[in-house]
Amino acid sequence: MNKEEKEILINKYLLQACDESEKQMVEKLVQEDEEARVIFKQTELLLKKLENEPTLQPSESLRQTFLLSLANELKPTQATNSFNMKVFYKVAAAFLVIATSVAAGFWVNTLVQERKEYAALQKEMQETKALLLSMMKNPMSASQRMVGVSQAADFSSLDQDIIKSMFRLLNEDPNSNVRLAALEALARYNTKEIKEQLLISLEKQQDPVVQVALIKLLTQDNNQAIKPTLEELIQKEGTEKAVRDAAHSALLRLS
């Protein structure tokens, strides 16, 4: 075995890539061969040194600078003609600042200037929220309510006022498409409370299209709790055929 072969084997050993027979070979080699012993000792020391190298910590300004440039990225930079995009960017920017301030509150709060910006953005978020809520209430236009729902769904965090409005649309809106959009948005949250409220909504839901969609949504994670509601729907007089069909096939899937 020449020097290079020895070294390859020793490196392999120290990098824990040897099988049993190779291990024994290296151990024997180190005991008997002076050259191998030197290589082993040196490499072992080096690897330990490399592994002990501390993790360098960047200055806090690295994070701060990036988050600021990200916030700039999110601000509406040009006057877009699309109202929807503006709303989206406002919401996104506001959300970002809220989220980062919760996590990295110290730098937001310590700097007065940033606190002002934070307050301004928070105000903007409140205004945006109010705007979304009023869009979701517009009685003259179903498509405005739809836009309101899908923009509000991008609000990301679980805002109780928005969730309440969505449930109101789901249960009471005269337009099925709006109800479905609200359902779609609520399904995205996927929490236990929301699922429970969706089950309650199925019990009082009057719109057959939404009933069908709710049955589909609530049965796909094999949720047995829905069974009595489905049976009731099948029994109930005046249940639309489509709903009865959906309830029947859902029960079959669940059993």
């Binding site: 179903a142 739809m146 498409n177 589909k216 489509a242």
Partner: protein, 251 residues
Amino acid sequence: MKKLMMIALVLVAATLQAQEYKVAKSSGRLELYVGKVTVEGYAGNEIVFTSKSGKSETDSRAAGLRSVNGSGLEDNTGVGIHVAVKDNIIEVYQLKKLNHPDLKILVPKGIVVSFKHDSKYGGDAIFRNMENEIEISCQYNNIVLENITGPLTAKTLYGSIDAVFGNNVKGPISMVSVYSHIDITLPQTVKANLKMLTSYGELFMASGFPWEIVIKDGMQQWGDKVEGKLNGGGFALDLRSDYGKVYLRKK
């Protein structure tokens, strides 16, 4: 023979004087509670109702009497419908539950048009050459949309939806049928966030549509669901048929 029939039909149609009724409104909301209708957009500023079926023959016995029916509504238009104007909302009712007039309506651009009909007695709801916002909600009617722009919400439980869009499509667009097909044709350049969904049907899409698939989030769906962006994304475009097929074509 066929030709003769055609000529005869044309002659009959020409002799039947079409009845007309107008409402001077170019904004607001037109709510149609009738079983069958053809709505067309036009560049005027009145809503024009015409009935192709015409008024039933004048009954000399009924002279001096008022027509009454179970719905309690009277024909206040001369074209076999009842129209009620409340501020910005124009409501249109048919007089009888089972009989619907063969109604054609011309609407100015600025009016939101809503069609709502839950009974199984009805025909196709046809909307043509419209830049208006349209809301359709029915149980049994088939919906036909030709050269419209949206925004649009359309729902039919048992009927189908066929839609060919014009060039400047505006969102959101949402179409739902439970039992029948949805067939939509869009310009290739449309920018939209597409969602196509079916439980027991199939989804079809024209090849060469510039789109990318987006990973879905939240509760998992069974059945088939496609989410993607057309031309980088834009307005919401939701197409859903639980038992029917969904077709997306390009112009």
